[in-house]
């Protein structure tokens, strides 16, 4: 049941190129969406057993024999799985209409599903090498997807992304190798135990630095961020949504903090370092976002800035901080997914993403404009939308931990966030309709539907914030906050 998160998308991806030979559109659409809907459903089904037992550990059996592939599921990674499944389902719904003019739908879906399988795998596996393995699976698929349009910009961005990503992967792998050399094991539990007995703080410190650089690059923390504003906008809108909404969080934040918290163990010094990195990202990227003319570039910088919030909350290490950061992770995945899809809608409607050419679209395309407003306000942290609560909790956690300076910077950065999101609103949707947009029509059904669903999630998660936070976010945060104990509990 847990393996279906990895196996199911891989299986569908394997058959899609064949199916694409005789069914260009219908079957790939149906199969992909059905598979992802099943994963959403599956993750909901798993809630009860996971919360009852605390965790689920399973081994893959092949023809009755135990294969050396394990998965471990606790509240934290179940939360991640649900987020991935929900957002990617909405993105694939959006793709039904959006991919019409790209062609090669089956290829696209196959790569898309491979990427999802990679992310799900990364989230589920409890050993370091498998983390690297699935990290690369997701990454390779994403290189191909960024270049999917095959234009000059796409190829350049993809190449830049690949080159920097490879550097990151190399350092992560190097670090894993060193740890394997020291502890003789790759399994989280064994490594955690081994490291506790070991007196090699210096080597371990360098390993952590490599992890921070490697996964920090995947998460696009400043100063490892420079690839993202090129790569994310160049990809087709659904892939941008995928990369910004999910991939940087899974292969960056999840991997980094799972290893730092559950394997190596967090120390106050490390916590401070990561908080500083998060804060720098938050501010620098927000300032950069302010100067952008291209909607997608602005959104890309915004992603870096919001990742800064998440890292700040997670690095703070208090249960409230972690919970706020995880809630923000969810909210950002949903809202940024929405906004990138929305930018796809705008591009589909008008053919441009340049804010200076747009204007007054609100009257012509109310659904697109309305959902965009919801997503923007959610990320900017305007009550009662979900993003407000998560930012509030992060700031409250900072105040609670007496980190007033960080709290102040977080508040100021959120003002910057509101600023550039209002720029989008003003330049694209408000004001008088430019003459050339008088004939535009609302986006096709599935694109609008995906936007509406995500916008609804933003609103509902804000309104029903208390029950969601209590039953869903807090257990995940506790699982992470238990640190090494959580992994040792799994008893592999």
């Amino acid at each position: 049941m847990v393996f279906s998160f990895i196996v199911m998308p891989l299986l569908v991806a394997a058959f899609l190129p064949l199916i694409g030979k005789f069914s260009k559109k219908l079957l790939p659409d149906v199969l992909t969406n059905a598979a992802l809907a099943f994963l959403v459903f599956n993750s909901i089904l798993l809630v009860k057993p996971v919360f009852n037992q605390g965790f689920i550990v399973q081994n893959l059996h092949w023809l009755g024999e135990k294969v050396n592939l394990q998965v471990a599921l606790d509240a934290f990674n179940l939360f991640m799985l649900f987020t991935i499944s929900l957002v990617s389902l909405c993105i694939s719904l959006f793709s039904i209409d959006y991919l019409e003019h790209y062609g090669h739908k089956s290829t696209f879906y196959a790569l898309f599903l491979v990427m999802i399988a990679g992310m799900n795998g990364l989230v589920l596996v409890p050993d370091l090498f498998s983390v690297y393995l699935f990290l690369e699976v997701a990454a390779v698929a994403s290189y191909a997807l960024v270049a999917f349009g095959l234009g000059y910009d796409e190829l350049e961005a993809s190449f830049k992304y690949l080159m920097l990503s490879v550097v990151a992967s190399a350092f992560a792998l190097l670090s894993i190798t060193v740890i394997f050399g020291m502890t003789g094991s790759l399994n989280f539990q064994a490594v955690a135990q081994g490291l506790q007995d070991l007196e090699a703080r210096l080597v371990l410190g360098v390993c952590v630095a490599f992890f921070i650089m490697g996964f920090g690059l995947k998460a696009a923390l400043v100063p490892f961020h420079a690839w993202l504003p090129d790569a994310h906008p160049s990809a087709p809108a659904p892939i941008s949504a995928m990369l910004s909404g999910l991939l940087i969080k899974v292969s960056g934040i999840y991997a980094l903090f799972r290893i730092v918290y559950s394997v190596i163990g967090i120390t106050p010094a490390l916590s401070r370092l990561l908080m500083a990195l998060g804060t720098i990202s938050m501010v620098v990227a927000a300032l950069l976002a302010l100067g952008q003319k291209d909607i997608k570039r602005m959104l890309a910088y915004s992603s870096i800035s919001q990742v800064g919030y998440i890292v700040l909350g997670l690095a703070l290490g208090t249960p409230l901080g972690i919970a706020g950061a995880l809630f923000h992770l969810f909210n950002h995945a949903v809202a940024k997914g929405l906004l990138f899809l929305n930018s796809g809608s705008i591009q589909h409607i008008t053919g441009t993403r340049n804010l200076e050419e747009l204007g007054g679209l609100g009257k012509m395309v109310p659904v697109t404009a309305g959902t965009n407003l919801v997503g923007a306000l959610s990320i900017a942290g305007v009550p009662p939308l979900a993003g407000f609560w998560s930012k509030l909790i992060i700031i409250m956690a900072l105040v609670q931990a007496r980190e007033f300076g960080y709290a102040l910077v977080a508040i100021l950065a959120s003002i910057l966030t509101l600023w550039y999101y209002l720029l989008i609103q003003r330049q694209a949707f408000f004001g008088r309709v430019a003459e050339k947009w008088l004939q535009v029509r609302e986006a096709p059904f599935w694109m609008s539907a995906a936007n509406v669903v995500l916008a609804l999630v933003c609103v509902l998660a804000g309104i029903f914030f208390t029950p969601i936070f209590k039953t869903w976010i807090s257990p995940a945060a506790e699982a992470l906050a238990r640190g090494i104990q959580q992994v040792l509990m799994w008893g592999l």
Binding site: K160, M163, L164, V167, A168, F171, R201, L202, G205, V206, V208, A209, F210, I212, M213, G216, L217, P223, F224, A226, W227, P229, D230, A269, L270, L273, V284, L287, L288, L290, G291, L416, W419
Partner: protein, 622 residues
């Protein structure tokens, strides 16, 4: 009679108000008939309750100590009766005068609503309840002033609301202080010496009371309202209802809640306010060129006599103040109604345009003459009696200056009414208004009734003094004081009365001198005084509203607002507009320049970042 009867004077007019507001304008006469009949029923109820006197109704209301507590006793029954009498006359008058008013429906509704609130305020025996009704009156006043439908009516309505609101706020504060020091909100249980906290409470509550009555400096909306509000509202609220309520509360404050001592600082304070109000307002009244505005300044000036009388703390002075309250309500109501009658027929109240109307409007002229003589204090009318009592009281305090101020007031009161009467009803017939005739009976009748009451209360002053006024003071004055004021009040041959009569003669002289000097034009009779060297400057300033605390306050706030805008808001805004955006743009620009799309560049940052992270971690490990 069950205690729930006490709810009738409140609920009945309120219900009538609702019905009046709902009756469609098309049903002719229904509104007028209903309002006059209801007012008549209320008047009857007033008599019944006055005969019954002592009744009390207590039920739980908002919480512990805040009960719905109504108490009928002699004083409140007297005020209740007076209120319903004036309501009846006003309704009768308005039935014709306001018939064609475009918003007559609202007018009658608000009048009855105001009556309900006033009755509630008079009957209330709990301060919270009192404040509730007292505040509600502000709203009806506001609404009634706006019904003047002049361009400035709204402005004046806001002014009345703000001034009234300020006074009421002071009163609430005073009540709070009183509650803090006595621990109770039940009115008839409070009896304290004014000192310290309770002294502040006294002053604050006094502001509430005299503010409602319209004493200086809380009067400034009344002259504005004279021109902006319907004239029947002027007869209804500032002339009668507000005087009755304000002085009722002032008397309650000085007699019941606090013990005002003769010669105490508070007594002097009240007398100063009273004397100042008399003199300054009457000087303003003297030079007015509009009939209604002239009357409105007298409505302020006369409050001075009441405040002065009550402030003496001497039984005859207090009795005089309260008697003056009811007398003033009668003749001032009559005067406003007669000015309304003139306006009704001629369409104007400007003295310059009027003249010689006595032949065409004999009844109005006669009613006006009686009321004008009464307000001027001519023997044997009621104004004479109550003013004499106030003079006696003022003299007995040992500060003759207050009596002199009151006499000065008397001189110019008479002079200004000579001018008004002369301009409107006597002299050559004005050519500016077409030929006209007497107003309808419902307009003339209330004026004549009031004039008749002025004569009755003057000639048979024993009647009101013994039945209405004396019992109020019963048990309040010291045992030795004799409470029979009827003996020397009517006494024409005593030095006090002599001075008063001398004042009237002086006034006559002033008027005819001025009339002669200004080419036999009566409306200019006050010009010699108007043009006196220093007075002229003061008048000019006053006309420019220099002494109007409200206008000055508004100016000050506007100035403050400009100041804050220029020196606080703009700089802060500048920081946002210029500094923040400039800093933001600079950083954004710098950062954007750094992102030049060069792979090598980015890789260098990455490696540089790694080096820094490693270095930091190694530092941390040391």
């Amino acid at each position: 009679m069950s205690p729930t009867t006490l709810l009738w004077p409140i609920l009945f007019p309120a219900a009538v108000a609702v019905v009046l507001l709902l009756i469609p304008s098309r049903i002719r006469y229904a509104r007028e008939i209903l309002s006059v009949m209801s007012a008549g029923a209320l008047l009857y109820l007033g008599f019944v309750l006055f005969a019954r006197r002592n009744l009390s109704l207590v039920s739980d209301w908002l919480g512990p100590g805040i009960n719905f507590d109504l108490r009928l006793y002699h004083f409140s029954a007297f005020i209740l009766l007076a209120l319903s009498g004036f309501l009846f006359l006003i309704c009768l008058y308005s039935a014709v005068k306001m018939k064609n008013h475009p918003r007559a429906r609202e007018y009658f509704g608000y009048v009855f609503l105001a009556a309900a609130f006033s009755n509630g305020a008079v009957l209330a025996n709990n301060f919270v309840l009192l404040v509730f009704f007292w505040e509600a009156l502000l709203i009806t006043t506001y609404a009634l002033v706006t019904l003047g439908l002049k361009p400035t009516s709204h402005r004046t309505a806001v002014k009345s609301l703000l001034i009234g609101g300020f006074c009421d706020f002071a009163m609430i504060l005073g009540i709070g202080l009183l509650w803090a020091s006595t621990g109770t909100l039940t009115m008839d249980k409070i009896q304290v010496e004014p000192h310290g906290l309770t002294l502040a409470a006294f002053v604050l509550m006094m502001i509430g009371a005299i503010g409602k009555a319209g004493a200086m400096p809380f009067h400034t909306w009344i002259p504005d309202a004279a021109l902006d509000a319907p004239v029947s509202f002027m007869a209804f609220m500032p002339a009668s209802f507000e005087k009755l309520l304000g002085i009722y509360l002032l008397a309650r404050i000085t007699l019941d809640f606090f013990e005002l001592k003769v010669g105490s600082g508070l007594s002097i304070l009240l007398m100063i306010i009273g004397a100042a109000t008399i003199v300054f307002a009457v000087f303003m009244a003297l030079i007015q060129k509009d009939f209604k505005k002239l009357l409105s300044f007298h409505a302020v000036s006369q409050v001075g006599y009441m405040v002065l009388g009550v402030g003496t703390a001497i039984p005859i002075g207090i009795a005089g103040g309260i008697f003056h309250m009811i007398n003033h309500a009668m003749y001032k109501c009559g005067l406003f109604l007669s000015s309304g009658s003139v306006e009704h027929r001629t369409g104007t109240t400007e003295l310059k345009k009027l003249g010689g109307l006595a032949r065409e409007m004999p009844w109005t002229a006669a009613g006006f003459a009686v009321c004008a003589l009464a307000i001027s204090g001519v023997w044997p009318l009621n104004g004479f009696v109550s003013k004499e009592m106030v003079f006696h009281g003022a003299l007995e305090t040992g500060y003759p200056i207050f009596a002199i101020a009151a006499w000065v007031g008397a001189i110019f009161t008479f002079a200004s009414f000579l001018k008004a009467g002369h301009s409107v009803f006597l002299g050559p017939r004005s050519t500016e208004v077409p030929k006209t005739r007497e107003s309808e009976a419902p307009i003339v009748l209330p004026i004549l009734i009031l004039a008749a009451l002025c004569i009755t209360f003057g000639v048979y002053n024993k009647l009101p003094l013994q039945h209405f006024i004396q019992p109020i003071l019963h048990g309040k004055a010291e045992a030795a004081e004799h409470l029979d004021f009827t003996s020397h009040a009517l006494d024409l041959f005593n030095p006090v009365a002599g001075v008063s009569i001398l004042c009237l003669i002086i006034a006559l002289g002033i008027h005819f001198y001025g009339w002669n000097r200004s080419g036999k034009k009566a409306y200019l009779a006050s010009e010699p005084i108007h043009n006196l060297p220093v007075l002229h400057k003061l008048y000019d300033l006053s006309e420019a509203r220099f002494f109007d605390l409200y206008e000055q306050g508004v100016k000050f706030l506007q100035w403050l607002s400009r100041l804050l805008f220029r020196f606080i808001d703009r700089p802060v805004d500048y920081v946002y507009e210029k500094v923040v955006t400039a800093v933001g743009r600079t950083f954004t620009g710098l950062l954007q320049k750094a992102h030049n799309g060069q792979y090598a560049n980015y890789l260098a940052w990455t490696v540089g970042g790694l080096v820094v992270v490693v270095w930091i971690i190694l530092q941390l490990l040391k």
